[in-house]
Subunit: 362 residues, 2 copies
């Protein structure tokens, strides 16, 4: 089978690396000639709304998928006339818009922060009145890694936040005081079967994921079951096919859904070494209609994002159980250029190795 | 770094899949336009002795390696003038010729079957006299997967074997009555450090490897240590860099060396899922001068070669812990077109899953 991937960055690249052993072939569409997926599969270089390029891209494909949720609706529509596009259109529509996403969670009885649509300046004050401060003002579309959002600590912040973000549809979300952030990576096959990886504990800094630990320490079966119930509801409601990630705020034994990503997810990269089947392989198994693979963890994993600068490869590889993944991207401040997964048979050893890694690469 | 690989078959393909995450790039040289490595890296299509093509192939490479030991000496020589070629030339010279190989083992005090060079028909009778029957007559060069050899059970077989094989340099080897066949996968870095995977039990049929089980059941520490001592001697004597495989016949607590392969090896494919670092990654780490990765096993693995015909992918992927590796090769009788590694946390579960697999794919 031939799989087309919209986006030729690291997620597409890791999908292809996982899929070649299954006998799959790949083609990427990406506006950048430097998209590093192009090193290991055909790359159509064009804008995502270039209809002629999409016609070239789709030629001979059996299925298409994407590595980012901001696929233009017309592109998904156009592609979908020629080939199955999975995860399905409804998942894109939901995940692209923070308001629709929150409404989806609410309709499925999954707790969220209080929220309000902010279309005009005049919507803001009554929303603050209702939700309270602190709160977060976010663009409904195209935000990622902390971009397109402003924290409102008090009323003095309101006008500046509006000046920065106003003019596009916004959402105001109540601030959640949480113990920690966790995510679940779920997968649903074409036949409707589902599987879930163990909950992951995530640490962000400046809006960017830094560290994921899996299985999330101190997680009991009830919390895992709760996360799975929430994810299963979303999967079924959207008639979903592929990997879906949902990020939660955890407070005690309560999970509050923050956002979803209808694609393989940074917090699931540890599954390459740390699970029986990686999220990349399971995404491909799902969209190609194959049986899903086991999501059982293999030992304990800590994933460490490489942001902005390349590490000393020799120093990294000298750490026992350290698995390096470079994305062949030019380093730039704030840019994810790779990750390292530390795997060990027990959590203590994994933590020790992480400490060694931190000392080795500064 | 950019790595050139002579040969674009499954071994080269799996090297590239293991190396992209390390930030490496790849280029293959292969006479066949269908070489499946070409799906995931640049492919120079040319004969291995085509000097102009080798000049194109070598352009911009940092290091070159090979996926088969029958690289023509002139090619290695020519390449070596432009770029380091690893494993080193002496390893190729040794492994290409069964007589030189056996003499190497003997010089290093590693037990082998009794053997004799057979250059002419008149060498054969005195050799049989000395070595006894049964024995195996083999071409010194270019044999693989049981090709280029004849078993001599009694004197009646001698003339036919000579008619089939005579005319090129041959070797007569005494027949070893063994309990089982095992192999060791060893690796040596540019800095001379070595590491060893656990011994592997191999089952051949019609000269082709069918099944590898790792760690080899019932192996005690002494046998592992003995295999490592033998392998270490070869690695050091050849000033070796990269993965080296040595196949042994085991009788009781004795190991008799059969042959070596100066490359990643079919009996090491289980390391992709079954070891902390795969043989493919460790080969690349070695030739690129990076630190070696841990060779510790992760649970128990059984590797099952797919020979001649493609399996039902859905049936394979439905088996828990089954990892499919297809090589994108046209099925032909006797041709290795893929492998499946069954991994489990204990040997019994791995064996059960193998049984399920056998029932599923017939």
């Amino acid at each position: 089978m031939r799989v087309g991937i919209l986006g030729g960055g690291q997620l597409g690249r890791m999908l292809a690396l996982a899929g070649y052993p299954l006998g799959l072939r790949f083609r990427f569409l990406d506006p950048s000639p430097d998209a590093s997926g192009g090193q290991l599969a055909g790359l159509v270089i064009a804008a995502y709304d270039d209809a002629a390029a999409i016609d070239r891209f789709v030629e001979g494909l059996d299925v298409a998928t994407y590595e980012f949720e901001n696929v233009p609706a017309e592109t998904a529509e156009h592609l979908g006339r020629h080939v199955p596009v999975l995860p399905p259109r409804e998942a894109l529509d939901t995940a692209q818009d923070r308001l629709v996403e929150k409404e989806c969670f609410r309709a499925l009885d999954i707790p969220t922060a209080p929220f309000a649509a902010i279309d005009e300046r005049s919507d803001l004050d009554p929303a603050i009145e209702r939700i309270g401060l602190p709160a977060v003002l976010k663009t409904r579309r195209l935000g990622y890694d902390g971009k397109g959002q402003r924290v409102l600590q008090d009323l003095d912040d309101v006008q500046r936040a509006w000046s920065d973000l106003g003019g596009v549809p916004l959402i105001l979300e109540g601030f959640i005081d949480f113990d920690r952030e966790v995510s679940i990576i779920a997968v649903r096959g074409r036949d409707g079967r589902v599987a879930f990886y163990p909950l992951i504990e995530n640490q962000h800094r400046q809006g960017i994921l830094r560290l994921s630990t899996a299985p999330a320490p101190g997680t009991d079966e009830r919390l895992q079951a709760l996360a799975e119930r929430h994810a299963a509801r979303v999967l079924d409601a959207l008639d979903y096919v592929g990997i879906l990630a949902i990020e939660f705020f955890q407070t005690g034994d309560r999970l509050v859904a923050n956002e979803m990503a209808p694609r393989v997810h940074n917090s699931g990269h540890w599954t390459i070494e740390g699970a029986e089947t990686s999220q990349f392989e399971n995404h491909l198994r799902a969209i190609c209609g194959f049986p899903l693979g086991s999501t059982a963890p293999r030992g304990h994993s800590i994933m460490f994002n490489l942001i902005g600068a390349a590490p000393d490869v020799n120093a990294v590889l000298a750490i026992r159980g350290a698995h390096l993944h470079l994305y062949a991207k030019e380093p730039r401040p704030g840019r994810k250029i790779g990750h390292i997964t530390i795997r060990a048979d027990d959590a203590e050893t994994a933590a020790e190795r992480l400490e060694q890694l931190r000392q080795a690469i500064g």
